[in-house]
C-alpha cells in the first residue's frame, strides 16, 4: 500500500473509508483506468490510537453503547468483527407507508434489487435465495413442524457470510490493481468546498504522526459508517458554517439502529413435533436459518413497522434452563468480547450462589458440554466459514424469542457534534439516540399476532408480560453496530441529505455510501444493502468518469 508522497494527491475518485461500503465500491474500479484513492482511516488491523479517534459522547449511556464500541476504525472497517448475518431489505421497506411518519424513499425496491446478487457474492453469502423451500436442496428443515402461521411467513430466512473481513479478503486484490491506491493511517478531518461553486475541491487528511496533506479528486465518496459520515459533514465548517450538506439542518438527524431483544416463553406442546432452530447449509456451505417474518399485508393492516423473530435458547443468566453448555458460556463471560457478550449475557451481576447453580448444570451434563465445546472448536474456531451462533436445544421444547424490529424514522434521534475533540482537534460526535412509541407498538402487536397464530394452531403457547416488552427491548439499548439514516436519501433537500443517486444536496461531486443514506431501517441487518447501494453508486460514477491516460490498464497488451 502506497506511502504518502507530497502534500497534495490528485485522483479521479477519492473514497473515504474502507469498510464493506468503501471496499465494495473500490473493487468495481479495478482495471477501469480510473484513478482511485481509497482511504482506510486506520491501520491494517485494530490499533488503539486510530480507534481512539472514534471516541465521543453519548446522551444516555443506558440507551447507547460508547462510540468506540461496535465500530472499528481500520482497513475493513467493522467487518473485522461483524456477525455476517445477511438478508435484503423487503419491498415494503421502500413503499410510502403513510402510517409511519418519514418512511419515504425516493427510489423503489426494484432500483436496488438487481444489485443484491453481486452484493451476496462479495459478502460471500451464497445465492440470492431467501426462501427456505429453495435455499437448500430439498428445502430447509421446518422450524416447527406443522405450524402454519397466518400472520408470519415461516419460510423467510437469513444467510451468513463467513463472516468475511473485507480488508483481509479483498486487500490483496486492491493492492494489485494498478489504478487503485490504498492509503492506510490517513484520516479525513475536513471536506473542503471550492471557493466558488458547489463542487468539493479536496479533503484534508491528517496522520497521527503529524503529517497533513490533501486529496483532490473529481468525485468524492464518504464511506465512513453511519456515525462518522454525519460527524465529518457537520465538522466541515471551513466554508459552510453549518457543515456540508446541512443547509436544511438534516445531517445527523434520523439516527436509527434496530429494536432488538429476547422476550416471551414459547412452549411447543404438540407431541412428537420436531422443533429445529438451528442452521442448514446450502450447497456452497453457506449457513441458512429460518426466521418468522411479519407479512407485509399484516404490517399494512396493523399500521406497524417491519419485524422478524427467531427461536432462541432460554436466557443465559437464569440457571433454571438446566443446560450445561449455556451455563459454561455464561461463566465464560470475561473471555468474550464486549460486543458479543453484551446481548448474550444480559446485565445481571454474578452472585456466588448463581455461580454454584451454573456449575451444577455443567456437572450434570459433562459429556454434552464437552462435546459441544469440541464441536464449537471445529466448526467455529478452526473453520474459515464459521458456524454463526450458539444453538442449544432447550429442554422440553421451551424457547424464548429473539426479536429484530425496524426502528421507525425519528428526526429527534441524532448525531451531533459534541464538546470534546479528538487528537486532530476535530469535534467528537455526540449521540442522542431516541425511539418512538410506534417502535414498542410494533413489537407488542407482532407478539400478540404470533400468540394468536400459536393459539389457532393449538400445538404451542406463547406467553409474555406485555408491560415488560419495553424493558426487554431496551435492556441492552439501541442495537449495536447498525448506524442508519444520518444522511438519508430524500426527494428534496428538505427531506434528506442525499438525492436518489446518493449525492449530497448542494454539492455536485460528493456522494455517500453506507447505511447513513437509508431513510428507513427495515428489519434487515444493513450490510448486504450497504454493499448493494455501493455497487449501484459505482455504476453511476463509472458512467460519468473517463479512464485517465495516466494509469495503465493492466495487461492491455
Amino acid at each position: 500500500m502506497s506511502g504518502l508522497g507530497g502534500s497534495r494527491l490528485n485522483s479521479q475518485l477519492c473514497i473515504v473509508g474502507a469498510g464493506p461500503a468503501g471496499i465494495a465500491l473500490a473493487l468495481q474500479f479495478i482495471n477501469t483506468g480510473i484513478d482511485v484513492v481509497l482511504l482506510a482511516g486506520g491501520a491494517l488491523d485494530h490499533d488503539e490510537k486510530s480507534q481512539a479517534l472514534y471516541a465521543g459522547e453519548v446522551a444516555d449511556e443506558a440507551l447507547h453503547s460508547p462510540l468506540t464500541e461496535y465500530r472499528h476504525r481500520q482497513f475493513g472497517g467493522s467487518s473485522a468483527t461483524w456477525g455476517g448475518r445477511c438478508m435484503p431489505f423487503d419491498p415494503i421497506d421502500f413503499e410510502n407507508r403513510d402510517w409511519i411518519e418519514g418512511a419515504r424513499w425516493p427510489i423503489a425496491y426494484d432500483d436496488i434489487a438487481p444489485f443484491y446478487p453481486e452484493a451476496q457474492a462479495l459478502a460471500e453469502a451464497g445465492d440470492c435465495i431467501y426462501d427456505a423451500r429453495q435455499a437448500v436442496e430439498g428445502g430447509m428443515r421446518p422450524m416447527i413442524a406443522g405450524f402454519e402461521p397466518e400472520f408470519f411467513n415461516p419460510d423467510a430466512i437469513e444467510r451468513f457470510s463467513c463472516p468475511t473481513n473485507f480488508g483481509r479478503r479483498y486487500g490483496e486484490k486492491l493492492r494489485r490493481a494498478p489504478n487503485i491506491r490504498v492509503l492506510l493511517n490517513a484520516h479525513a478531518t475536513q471536506i473542503m468546498r471550492a471557493e466558488h461553486g458547489n463542487a468539493i475541491e479536496h479533503i484534508v487528511l491528517r496522520t497521527l504522526e503529524g503529517a497533513e496533506f490533501q486529496v483532490h479528486a473529481d468525485r468524492f465518496v464518504l464511506a465512513t459508517g453511519g456515525i462518522e459520515t454525519a460527524r465529518l459533514l457537520l465538522a466541515s465548517r471551513a466554508r459552510d458554517p453549518q457543515g456540508i450538506g446541512n443547509a436544511q439542518d438534516q445531517v445527523g438527524r434520523n439516527y436509527l439502529c434496530h429494536i432488538a431483544g429476547t422476550a416471551g416463553t414459547l412452549s411447543v406442546t404438540a407431541p412428537a413435533t420436531p422443533v429445529f432452530h438451528g442452521y442448514d447449509r446450502a450447497w456452497d456451505g453457506v449457513y441458512c436459518r429460518r426466521r418468522l417474518a411479519l407479512r407485509p399485508e399484516v404490517q399494512r393492516e396493523k399500521r406497524i413497522g417491519n419485524i422478524v423473530m427467531r427461536l432462541h435458547h432460554p436466557r443465559l443468566p437464569d440457571p433454571a434452563h438446566g443446560r450445561g453448555i449455556l451455563s459454561a458460556i455464561y461463566l465464560a463471560k470475561p473471555f468474550i468480547s464486549y460486543e458479543y457478550s453484551k446481548r448474550l449475557h444480559g446485565g445481571d451481576g454474578l452472585s456466588a450462589s448463581l455461580v454454584l447453580r451454573h456449575l451444577a448444570n455443567i456437572a450434570c451434563e459433562p459429556f454434552a458440554t464437552a462435546g459441544f465445546l469440541l464441536n464449537w472448536a471445529r466448526r467455529r474456531t478452526l473453520a474459515a466459514r464459521k458456524f454463526p451462533s450458539l444453538i442449544v436445544t432447550p429442554r422440553n421444547n421451551v424457547f424464548s424469542l429473539d426479536i429484530h424490529a425496524e426502528q421507525v424514522p425519528n428526526l429527534q434521534s441524532r448525531i451531533m457534534l459534541g464538546e470534546g475533540r479528538d487528537a486532530f482537534g476535530m469535534p467528537q460526535a455526540r449521540v442522542d439516540w431516541r425511539y418512538r412509541a410506534l417502535d414498542m407498538e410494533t413489537v407488542r402487536v407482532a407478539l400478540g399476532l404470533l400468540k394468536d397464530d400459536f393459539a389457532r394452531w393449538g400445538g404451542g403457547q406463547l406467553s409474555y408480560d406485555e408491560a415488560e416488552i419495553p424493558d426487554a427491548m431496551l435492556r441492552d439499548g439501541a442495537y449495536g453496530g447498525h448506524h442508519i439514516g444520518t444522511a438519508r436519501m430524500g426527494a428534496s433537500p428538505e427531506e434528506g441529505v442525499v438525492d436518489s443517486e446518493a449525492r449530497v444536496f448542494g454539492t455536485t461531486n460528493l456522494h455517500v455510501a453506507g447505511s447513513a443514506i437509508f431513510p428507513t431501517s427495515s428489519q434487515a441487518n444493513p450490510t448486504l444493502t450497504i454493499i448493494a447501494f455501493a455497487l449501484r453508486l459505482a455504476r453511476h460514477i463509472k458512467a460519468d468518469l473517463q479512464p485517465s491516460t495516466k494509469v495503465s490498464i493492466k495487461g492491455a497488451a
Binding site: E124, C162, R168, R169, Y170, G171, E172, K173, R176, R281, A282, W283, D284, G285, L382, A383, A384, R385, K554, G555, A556, A557
Partner: protein
C-alpha cells in the same frame, strides 16, 4: 492427406486419432511406443516410433504428409524429440507440423496474454522446455508449422484438471479458497482442443503461427472449484481455512511427492498415493492470467463448448469413472 499423430497413446493423442479415423478425407496413422489393442480393433494403422530416435522417426514418416506432435514425456524427451522430428520431416518432405505447446510458456505472467505475447521470464522447467520446442519448430526449414497452446485441458478423460481436481474436492482438500482462489482458471475442453488440432492441419496461416486455446471469460478458481464440486455432488463445499492450505503446501506436499516416487519405484500405482498440492499448484489459484482466444476463434474457426456444458460433461465422466474405480 496422411496424418501421423505422434504420442497417440496419450490423452489428447488418442482422442485425435479417433476423431481423424472417423473422417473420410484423411487417413490417420497412430505413432506410439507400444501398439494398442484399442486401435487394432478399430482397424487403425499403428507405427511404433521412438520419438527421440532419428532413425525410428524417419522410418515412421513414410508416406506421411502431416504430423500432429503430442508427445509428452520428460522435458529432455520433449526437446530432443522435437529436434529429431523437425529434421526428419524436412528431409522426408512432409508438408505441415501441428505442434502441441502449452500456455505454460507464459509462466507466472498476469493480465491478458495474446498469441504473440513474448514468453515470460519467470517460467518453470516445463515451460522452458516448451519454449525451446516452440523455437525449434519455428526454425525448422522446409516445413510449415502451426503451434497450439492449450491452457488447462479438462473434460472426460482429463486426469490433471478434471480427475485430480475432482478427487481433491471429494476429500475437501480443495474447495472455496477465499482470497487464495481469486486467480483465473483458464480451462479448455478436450473436445475443443481436438477440434483446434484438426482445423490446424489445413488452415491457411503464416507458418510458425501460435494459437492460445482457452476460455475467453475464464471463471475464477473459486468459481470453478465450487461449480465442479456441485456438479460432482461433493457438497457442501468447504471454505478452506488458510492454515489448511499451509499444511498442504508446506508439509503434506513434500511427503506425498516422496510417497509417489517411492510407490512408482517399487511398482505400486502412483494413484494409490493421494495427490499432493504443491506450492506451484497452489500458486496457480491466485494467478490472474487470461488468454486472448480471438486468434483461434477467427483463424481456426474454433467453436468453443460453453463452460457450463464442458463442466457437465467432465462431471458425468468423473462420476462414472470414480464409481467404477
Amino acid at each position: 492427406m496422411k496424418v501421423l499423430v505422434l504420442g497417440a497413446s496419450g490423452f489428447v493423442g488418442k482422442r485425435l486419432v479417433q476423431e481423424l479415423a472417423a473422417r473420410k478425407d484423411v487417413s490417420v496413422v497412430a505413432g506410439l511406443r507400444r501398439e494398442q489393442a484399442e486401435f487394432r480393433t478399430l482397424g487403425i494403422e499403428q507405427r511404433v516410433i521412438e520419438a527421440t530416435d532419428a532413425q525410428s522417426v524417419e522410418a515412421g514418416l513414410g508416406g506421411i504428409t502431416h504430423v500432429i506432435n503430442c508427445v509428452m514425456g520428460s522435458n529432455d524427451v520433449m526437446v530432443s524429440g522435437t529436434k529429431v522430428l523437425c529434421a526428419a520431416m524436412s528431409s522426408a518432405g512432409c508438408k505441415r507440423l501441428v505442434h502441441f505447446s502449452s500456455t505454460a510458456v507464459f509462466g507466472g505472467s498476469e493480465g491478458l496474454v495474446g498469441d504473440n505475447a513474448p514468453f515470460a521470464a519467470n517460467v518453470d522447467a516445463y515451460g522452458r522446455a516448451k519454449i525451446e520446442c516452440e523455437n525449434l519448430v519455428r526454425a525448422a526449414s522446409g516445413i510449415e508449422s502451426v503451434i497450439l497452446r492449450p491452457a488447462l485441458i479438462h473434460g472426460p478423460g482429463a486426469e490433471q484438471w478434471t480427475a485430480r481436481i475432482g478427487r481433491l474436492l471429494r476429500w475437501h482438500r480443495l474447495g472455496d479458497l477465499g482470497a487464495a482462489g481469486d486467480g483465473l482458471c483458464n480451462l479448455i475442453l478436450v473436445d475443443d482442443v481436438v477440434q483446434a488440432a484438426v482445423r490446424a492441419l489445413d488452415v491457411e496461416t503464416v507458418s510458425g503461427r501460435a494459437f492460445n486455446l482457452a476460455e475467453p471469460n475464464p471463471p475464477t478458481w473459486n468459481r470453478y472449484l465450487m461449480d465442479f464440486a456441485r456438479e460432482i455432488g461433493s457438497l457442501p463445499v468447504h471454505r478452506l481455512p488458510g492454515w489448511q492450505m499451509k499444511i498442504e503446501t508446506k508439509l503434506l506436499a513434500i511427503a506425498l511427492k516422496l510417497a509417489q516416487i517411492i510407490a512408482g519405484k517399487i511398482g505400486l500405482g502412483r494413484w494409490l498415493v493421494p495427490d499432493p498440492i504443491t506450492p506451484s499448484f497452489a500458486r496457480l489459484f491466485a494467478q490472474e492470467i487470461r488468454f486472448d482466444p480471438s486468434g483461434a476463434d477467427q483463424v481456426l474457426g474454433l467453436k468453443r463448448t460453453p463452460y457450463r456444458e464442458g463442466l457437465a460433461q467432465a462431471a458425468i465422466w468423473f462420476r462414472a469413472s470414480s464409481s467404477r474405480g
